[in-house]
């Protein structure tokens, strides 16, 4: 565990040193305004205060299920461009693997280096966005602060981090074994699109957003199985041969 953390800590520091990380975070916060716009547009069409109240509860508490996942995945796509990609491009990966670390420790360390900051930043932006939406738009209309469901909180602090780690591990695996590691980042984009489509579908069907943690848990299971299978095939030689030589 110690060596995994040594690898992760160095990469996290490197990622936070880059200005582009902060630019992306600012862009993310700006994107949050979309939800505010969607919310105000929707309540403008509602006739009674009771409907506004009902819609606000459903909309805002629903966001508590979606935002942490959406932001974390988005931030992942930023942090995943450091770590393995940089190590392979600068040919540092060979020296790293020649130290007394196993390929699994390297894999987990690199995965943790992307997961930890992504989850923390994703969660922080979600909380800020949630508070801003409540104070700036919901309270003026409903005169009440809408708290997220307990299940949404549980999902944000337990299920989503585990899910992000499981997904990131797959991405990092692909980055390690293919010669163009940037391609692996498309997985984050695919998940992001799936999430947007999923939200719209659920919203359209009128299904409870509480359904999301179940979906997340199912994905965790699936990704864990994939990770376990992949772990048997990962070797230092594969990583080396896919690197710039």
């Amino acid at each position: 565990m110690n060596k995994i953390w040594i690898i992760a800590r160095k990469d996290i520091r490197e990622a936070f040193r880059s200005r582009s990380t902060y630019v992306f975070i600012l862009v993310m916060m700006f994107v949050s305004l979309n939800y505010a716009q969607a919310y105000t547009k929707a309540i403008d069409s509602l006739s009674s205060p009771q409907l506004v109240d009902e819609f606000s509860r459903r909309f805002v508490s629903g966001l508590a299920y979606i935002l942490p996942m959406m932001y974390s995945i988005f931030v992942c796509s930023i942090f995943a461009t450091y770590s393995v990609i940089v190590d392979k491009a600068k040919r540092n990966i060979e020296s790293l693997m020649a130290t007394p670390i196993s390929i699994t420790q390297l894999w987990l360390g690199k995965s943790l280096a992307v997961t930890l900051p992504s989850v923390l930043v994703g969660l922080a932006i979600s909380v800020l966005a949630y508070l801003a939406l409540n104070f700036a738009f919901v309270i003026p209309n409903t005169h009440a602060f809408i708290f997220p469901d307990l299940l949404a909180i549980l999902s944000a602090v337990v299920i989503i981090p585990v899910l992000i780690f499981a997904v990131v591990s797959i991405v990092i695996f692909i980055q390690l074994v293919i010669s163009n590691p940037r391609i692996a980042n498309f997985i984050f984009t695919a998940i992001f699109i799936l999430l947007v489509v999923g939200v719209q579908t659920i919203g359209g069907l009128g299904v409870s957003f509480a359904f999301f943690p179940l979906v997340y848990a199912a994905i965790v299971l699936l990704c864990t199985v994939i990770d376990l299978i992949l772990s048997r095939t990962l070797t230092k030689e594969k990583v080396l041969l896919s690197s710039k030589m």
């Binding site: 540092n92 060979e94 020296s95 020649a98 130290t99 230092k236 080396l240």
Partner: protein, 309 residues
């Protein structure tokens, strides 16, 4: 006899249908500075990667410090400098060393890092970012990184590449110091024949995946030498005297370069007969030197011979 620190037995390595190493067998003994020579693409880097557990041999056995090379713990006692230095440009030299020292589980890393930086002459540049380093400084820093965990074995791939002549001398002296005063073992892969000639006690030459030459450097030089002597006289030896020498059993006259006369002799030829003949004809002998093949001669002979096949 010293115990082997690296032992490769009948190593084959194939990649993409191409055989990179063919039945490679060699040992690096404790206390050796072992020169590993060969042209580009000969299989040196692949051998080093197998030793460092980065690649697996297709067949054969590899043991490093008594352990399987694939055992990650075996590398705790191996320091390395690879072709790509593996240093992080955005980090300071000190932090680069700290990162690697932690991965090695080095106890009291600060002390060891300071000592390693001092050893390679970078003590005053530890707080500088590596991006500000020249190629030569990077090589020295990579060497410091290899030394910080106090390894038993150093695997060095072209450690003086890009280093200025003074720096090369410093690194060579450091390598000798590591062997003689600190009891380390060094596997040195190099294209610099002069460097290998100066510091290595044992060598192996690989070409197209085959080990073509392997053993004690001095012995190989004797075996591959012309089997001759060089006689230095006060005045150039006359043509008639040269003809007399050529008539002695087992001798062939080689080049004459001013006062120096090279002779090739068979193992049973008596060199003292030449000396006696010269002395009896009034020639003043200033020196008799046994001629050995230089590493460069050995290298070019073997590589060219292999190319012709």
């Amino acid at each position: 006899m010293a115990d082997p620190v690296i032992s490769l037995e009948h190593i084959d390595k194939s990649m993409g249908g191409r055989q990179i190493l063919k039945d490679v067998t060699l040992s690096v003994m404790r206390g050796d500075i072992f020169g590993y020579l060969g042209p580009n693409g000969a299989g040196k880097t692949t051998t080093i990667r197998i030793i460092l557990g980065l690649m697996k041999a297709t067949s054969g056995t590899v043991s490093v410090l008594g352990k399987d090379a694939q055992d990650d713990n075996a590398r705790r006692k191996i320091g390395f400098v690879l072709e790509a230095d593996g240093l992080y440009d955005n980090m300071t030299a000190w932090n680069n060393l700290l990162y690697y020292a932690r991965l090695y589980g080095v106890d009291k890393p600060a002390e060891k890092i300071d000592a390693a930086l001092k050893l390679v002459g970078l003590a005053d540049r530890g707080s500088d970012k590596v991006s500000s380093y020249s190629k030569g400084m990077r090589q020295r820093l990579a060497l410091a990184r290899a030394l910080a965990p106090d390894p038993e074995l150093l695997v060095l791939d072209e450690p003086t590449a890009g280093v200025d002549p003074t720096g090369q001398i410093d690194i060579r002296e450091l390598m000798l110091d590591l062997i003689h005063k600190r009891g380390k073992t060094i596997l040195l892969s190099s294209h610099n024949l002069d460097e290998v000639q100066r510091i290595c006690n044992r060598i192996a030459l690989i070409h197209k995946g085959d080990i073509r030459l392997y053993g004690e450097k001095d012995q190989l030089q004797r075996e591959m030498g012309h089997g001759g002597v060089q006689i230095e006289t006060a005045e150039p030896v006359t043509a008639s005297l040269i003809a007399e020498i050529a008539g002695l059993p087992g001798f062939k006259v080689g080049e004459q370069d001013g006062n120096r006369l090279s002779l090739m002799n068979s193992p049973e030829a008596d060199v003292s007969a030449v000396v006696t003949l010269l002395a009896s004809r009034g020639a003043r002998i200033e020196g008799v030197k046994k001629q050995e093949a230089s590493l460069e001669e050995m290298y070019t002979t073997i590589v060219r011979e292999a190319e012709r096949k």
